[in-house]
């Protein structure tokens, strides 16, 4: 490679866990002032590689050199002191402490044993100011009072304050909306200009195109390919997936597959939503796009009765459907797959099949058998699980050991047992790797073909555009637009931000 000497150079890294080769002879480097993207599916070895870099794991073979000097990290602190900071997906901030306290966590300056608040304040201000005048974060603000993007800035400020020479960002946009992503991208540019080597882990092609100088793709624990210049997105995806993406998204609904109106909403609203009117037909997938907080999830929750509409009319298959709680909605034929599977959808310690049976059991008489409900028996559930292609060694094993994609399919099976009229997917592929995503898209299409109406709420715009037959855009609690399949990303973003008049490349 050309350019300056690498700030970090890993060579021939191998690591095995109880016989399984997690990394095989991986080489990776990053120069000061460079953004090197690390792409790969879940399980490709990205996290393992970064854990080796940060001293959490010790490699079986291979070397790590910082500015040409070889280091052997025995403890994460060693890596931190050598100038390597990792910003994880789940922030490692303490929500109840202030910005300054978080930046100085574990290394507070003291005078005569007393923590020197003034020094902390000045240094915190200095570091935050590096990111430009528009980020007004006061050092004495409690972190939980900040929005997610600001929290991420604090996290980065912490790394900068530690004099990090190498900053690893592990899918930093996972929790951010589009506006917040822009803030993050600016921060990355700033870091780059100040000579930090940035290793940027992501699934999203848009971010690679936008930020990266180089791209390395990991697959099955080895470097699949390393590009010295960022190639076209489909080249990267091809390297990640090992196949073309032509059949990545499921095909659109055919005209004859779309049936009668299943859901009709007229002038509905509550404290988050206003004047919502739309129809959803059997056999179609309706995608709901919009910025974070635009009301997409609020709409799903209102339909599902979790935070009900307070005005307007809703009908499901011709019957009134203003539900006051989820139980009513479920009985009437609505199913919802929440965005945070682990927290909201799964009982992790129970078996795959128990998780599938969860809703059927809850709607059945409490005195009945748990193996046989009026909706489904456990054998039928196992057949359903097979039908939606949940891959597990045994459906009697705990569901927590399954991959995200298989967990999601198990939740689909849970609803299928009830023959739903409307299925609401919130962020259906969050945390699911590329190959399994395709499986979820095709499963959604199969369900639609069988006559279910599908509402899909997603922050992943390409996914909405690739999957939905119609796209609704929400803004500030209202429907801001409706588009047919084939609409461009730019048009949707303009409707979502309300900036109809600005230049199209703003998307």
């Amino acid at each position: 490679m050309s350019g300056p000497a690498p700030a970090i150079e890993m060579r021939g890294i191998s690591k095995s866990f109880t016989g399984v080769k997690a990394l095989r002879d991986v080489g990776f480097d990053c120069a000061p002032g460079e953004v090197h993207a690390l792409a790969g599916e879940n399980g490709a070895g990205k996290s393992t590689l970064m854990k080796v870099l940060s001293g959490v794991y010790r490699p079986d073979a291979g070397t790590i050199a910082i500015n040409g000097i070889e280091h052997h990290f025995k403890h994460p602190m060693d890596a931190l002191q050598a100038g390597i900071s990792i910003i994880y997906q789940e922030f490692s901030l303490l929500p109840e402490r202030t910005v300054a306290q978080n930046i100085f966590l574990g290394r507070e300056p003291t005078r005569y044993g007393i923590v020197d608040q003034k020094v902390m304040d000045i240094e915190a201000r200095r570091v935050i100011a590096l990111f430009g005048p528009s980020h007004h974060i006061k050092p004495d603000t409690v972190v939980s009072d900040l929005d997610v993007a600001s929290q991420q800035l604090v996290e980065i400020a912490k790394a900068v304050s530690l004099n990090a020479k190498v900053i690893v960002m592990d899918e930093p946009t996972a929790a951010l909306n589009d506006a917040e992503c822009e803030v993050l991208f600016d921060l990355v540019e700033t870091l780059k200009k100040s000579g930090v080597a940035v290793i940027y882990i992501t699934h999203r092609m848009r971010e690679i195109t936008r930020l990266a100088d180089r791209v390395t793709v990991l697959k099955d624990g080895a470097v699949a390919v390393s590009f010295d210049a960022v190639p076209a997105p489909d080249v990267i995806v091809h390297a990640m997936v090992g196949r073309d993406i032509g059949d990545y998204y499921a095909p659109a609904a055919l005209q004859e597959e779309i049936g009668l109106t299943m859901l009709a909403v007229r002038g509905a609203g509550n404290d988050r939503l206003n004047d919502i009117s739309f129809d959803l037909r059997a056999g179609e997938i309706a995608g709901f796009a919009g910025l974070q907080g635009a009301g997409r999830v609020a709409l799903a929750m209102a339909l599902f009765g979790a935070s009900p509409f307070t005005r307007g009319e809703v009908s499901l298959a011709g019957r009134p459907a203003l539900f006051r709680n989820p139980r009513e909605a479920i009985r009437a034929g609505i199913g919802l797959l929440p965005g945070d599977r682990k927290a909201e959808a799964l009982v992790l310690m129970q078996s795959v099949s128990d998780n599938g049976m969860l809703t059927a059991r809850s709607l059945s008489p409490v005195t009945g058998s748990d193996r046989k409900t009026p909706f489904v028996s456990d054998q039928e559930m196992n057949r359903l699980l097979e039908q939606v292609d949940v891959r597990a060694a045994d459906y009697a094993h705990e569901i927590k050991n399954l991959s995200g994609g298989n967990q999601q399919k198990a939740i689909v099976a849970r609803w299928l047992a009830l023959n739903p009229k409307l299925l609401i997917f919130i962020e259906p592929t969050r945390g699911i790797d590329v190959n399994a995503k395709a499986g979820i898209y095709h499963l959604m299409r199969d369900l639609a073909r069988k006559g279910t109406a599908i509402m899909m709420v997603s922050s992943d715009l390409p996914e909405v555009l690739g999957t939905a037959d119609r796209i609704f855009v929400m803004r500030s609690g209202e429907l801001a637009g409706e588009f047919p399949r084939g609409v461009s990303e730019a048009q949707v973003m303009l409707a979502a931000t309300g900036e109809i008049t600005t230049k199209p490349e703003a998307a």
């Binding site: 303490l94 402490r97 574990g106 507070e108 900040l146 993007a149």
Partner: protein, 328 residues
């Protein structure tokens, strides 16, 4: 460029939540004053009456100050009640009426506190025993040891040592001054030292604290040592007040559960990392005021206990609704 300031959500609600103990305290004071006035008992509204109310909660205040540390690191200590008894008996037996033995007795009690706190801390951090179970076990061990040697009042406290409970310094009870000093010390420690920061960090998120290079086990052990030392101090105070060591004084006062209750009423969350000593102080005063209100109104002790129970649950529910987070 997008300004982050516009994205920040309003946080008036959170601020309200952080000051909640002060509101509760103000409410308790008002109810007390209104009760006294409506019953025409204005002599209960004098500074002397205030001091006497506070003086009733010295032992609880000391124990709760220590319990605050344990709960802030996301632990808890159920062994304080029996440790109080053990400390009282130990000191009283060693003194046995001899003024010259006061210092050794105090040192012995404090040593006992350090030993119990260290054991609690090590059980929790090294053997990874759940704090409830570890300290419950410790509590039973202390109680068993104590019961096998002493079954009634033991030893005798010399009159010099009774100054702790009965002495006055410029019109204020000495014991109250000790408690105030303890609270101030705890505040300084939590608010201004790196150790205090570490307490909040470890309680807020142990993994984060460890990743930042904090030796989390040490912080937890230290918090437990402080907690046990405070309980040992409360034991010394009770020995001084009763003029002898009683092997049931701690459990009779229910200092284990009451200290946890006042910490929680004071807004410190059981999951750790949030709260502080001023909230606990407010909680202790609120508890004393409740007692006084019931005494003024002449309500019997059982009704009082029911009310206390309701107030604890109501306070925690109040915080839970306020913060919409896991509180207890």
């Amino acid at each position: 460029m997008i300004s982050l300031a516009n994205l920040a959500r309003p946080f008036a609600r959170e601020r309200m939540e952080r000051q909640a103990p002060a509101f509760l305290l103000a409410a308790a004071i008002m109810i007390y004053a209104v009760t006294a006035l409506s019953l025409g008992l204005t002599r209960f509204l004098t500074p002397e009456a205030a001091i006497s109310i506070l003086n009733r909660s010295i032992a609880l205040g000391m124990t709760a100050a220590g319990q605050t540390f344990a709960i802030l690191v996301a632990s808890i200590d159920l062994s304080v009640a029996h440790l109080i008894s053990a400390s009282a008996v130990l000191a009283s037996v060693i003194m046995n009426g001899e003024p010259s033995m006061i210092i050794p007795a105090i040192l012995a009690s404090m040593t006992l506190g350090v030993v119990v706190g260290t054991l609690n801390g090590l059980l929790i951090t090294k053997l990874e025993v759940n704090p409830l179970i570890a300290t419950l076990g410790m509590s039973l061990v202390i109680q068993g040891c104590l019961a096998s040697f002493y079954t009634s009042f033991s030893g005798r406290v010399p009159s010099e040592f009774q100054f702790f409970a009965y002495g006055e310094v410029s019109g204020l009870p000495f014991s109250l001054l000790v408690l105030i000093a303890l609270v101030l010390l705890a505040w300084l420690l939590l608010r201004f030292t790196r150790f205090g920061s570490n307490i909040y960090s470890v309680g807020g998120n142990r993994d984060t604290a460890r990743a930042a290079g904090i030796k989390t086990a040490r912080v937890v052990v230290a918090a437990h040592i402080i907690c046990s030392l405070c309980a040992a101090l409360a034991g010394l105070y009770l020995a001084s007040r009763l003029k002898s060591g009683s092997p049931w004084i701690g459990s009779e006062g229910a200092y284990d559960l009451e200290s946890i209750a006042v910490v929680v009423i004071g807004g410190t969350v059981l999951s750790g990392g949030r709260g502080g000593i001023w909230g606990t102080t407010a909680g202790v005063v609120i508890f004393s005021l409740i007692d006084s209100i019931f005494n003024l109104a002449g309500i019997d002790a059982f009704a009082k206990q029911v009310m206390r129970g309701i107030i604890i649950v109501a306070a925690v529910a109040f915080y839970a609704v306020r913060s919409k987070r896991m509180v207890a």
